[in-house]
Amino acid sequence: MSAAVPENAPEHCPGTNSEQAGKVDACAGCPNQQICATTPKGPDPDIGVIRDRLTGVRRKILVLSGKGGVGKSTFTGQLAFALAVDPELQVGVVDVDVCGPSIPRVMGVEGERVHQANTGWQPVYAADNLAVMSVGFLLRESADAVIWRGPKKNGLIKQFMKDVDWGDLDYLLVDTPPGTSDEHLSLVQYLREAGVDGALVVTTPQEVALADVRKELNFCRKVGVRVLGVAENMAGFVCPSCKGESDIFPASNGGARRMADEFGVPFLGSVPLDPLIGKSCDHGVSFVEEYPESPASRAFLDVVAALRAQLD
């Protein structure tokens, strides 16, 4: 992290990155002294390696949400499919949700393996121009639980950033787990020199979800990641038998649009809940190609267009 002096540090703290960390008089009695004094100092040399590795990647986009189950992986996967419709574009997806990787299934490449080549790890290709990397490819069995604490997760994320041979990409989408913790901090830190173009924040309309997503927006502010926009998922439901519309997750507090306004970030659009989206993800196919006539498809493509407009 760039802020080297923690908020609750003692007076005259030299900063956790300093050569003097843990050694000056001010450090006496600080609970962090031992850690500061023993950890290696100076910038992480791998950050430069990651920058060099990702020089062929034009756009790096994080998909974030403080809340789980709002559709981060669905959005990431379907966004990748929608971008890859253009054969001129090269698209990559990396799934850093170490404990719950959904991307292999959503992209229809579950059970595939990653190959090691001289140039690095070879991602799995869901289509000619669509490369995928996930911890799911490294597990022996899909029911295996990855019971890892933070540092081990960080190590793997670093490898994903440093060792995967993406080649030239127009878009690299990074799917994240819910929250604002190790994975997110590490990503931002590792990509500091490579540069992140911004974050797509996904939410659902109800207050319980928005409360967590506000935290995520504050996280972006804190670490200096630009928010490309907020996309609202599962907004409204059209009954398959009577076509009547209703809100499964009602926006009691103005929904995502109002939250985006409050934070001064773009609102990219709302996508209604369509059971066929979930079905497409279960089968690993592109929803917008399978069901182009669905209102959810049209809404989704509007969000994609709005996102691309933010980038250009």
């Binding site: 019971i147 933070g150 935290k215 209703s246 089968h283």
Partner: protein
Amino acid sequence: MSSKVAERLASVENVLLVLSGKGGVGKSTVSVRLARSLVRLGYRVGVLDVDLCGPSVPLLLGVSGRQVHQATQGWVPVFTDETQRLCCMSIGFLLQNQDDAVVWRGPKKNAMIRQFLSDVCWGELDYLIVDTPPGTSDEHLAVIENLKEYKPNGAVVVTTPQASGRILPAVALSDVRKELTFCRTVELPVIGVVENMSGYVCPHCAECANVFSSGGGEAIAEEFNVPFLSKQQRMESRLNCGATNTRHGAARSSAY
């Protein structure tokens, strides 16, 4: 340190963990409903929210924005009403601003959870329900480790029904599968699987639509040989005020 936890929890009869590998399946909703149903059956219940990055329990119990008091015996949890039968502890009570992000790495989260388990004076409780974040990582390990001496009764695993047939387990379920494997690995008994969002009743035509497909929870419970507790039919549109449904409580008490 953990003996302090055992001491602190000596007055707590049962400890249940609510887990799910997947986010947004309704762990907090199920925790809160379970708590309210148990209170209705006459028990004293505490809810501990260890989701540090996204605490939802205060909102669901209608106590967000309240403060925790520090007494000589420790932190006093927040009670939902004067009858003092339902209390709750969450990081949400410790934030200056509700929207502040808790940007913490593992060790700091572990320390906070240890403090929650060792410093909160719950008093006499029949049930302590621990609501967890999604995944199988620091928070979960911290809870299990600190409760090692206490031996929690077990875990309630929540899922949604996305299962495209029994052969192809779907997105939410494959994460729940991981959670069940986690429970096996850490030797935590699974009390059962609760399937949430099992269907949505259209307010216009009263037709029950399977928004997230069907049958998955039951299939996975069978596969792992753990009890299937209940199907929470219909997503309540009362997500913001805390639910009043008692069906779940009935299902739970019969499971005992």
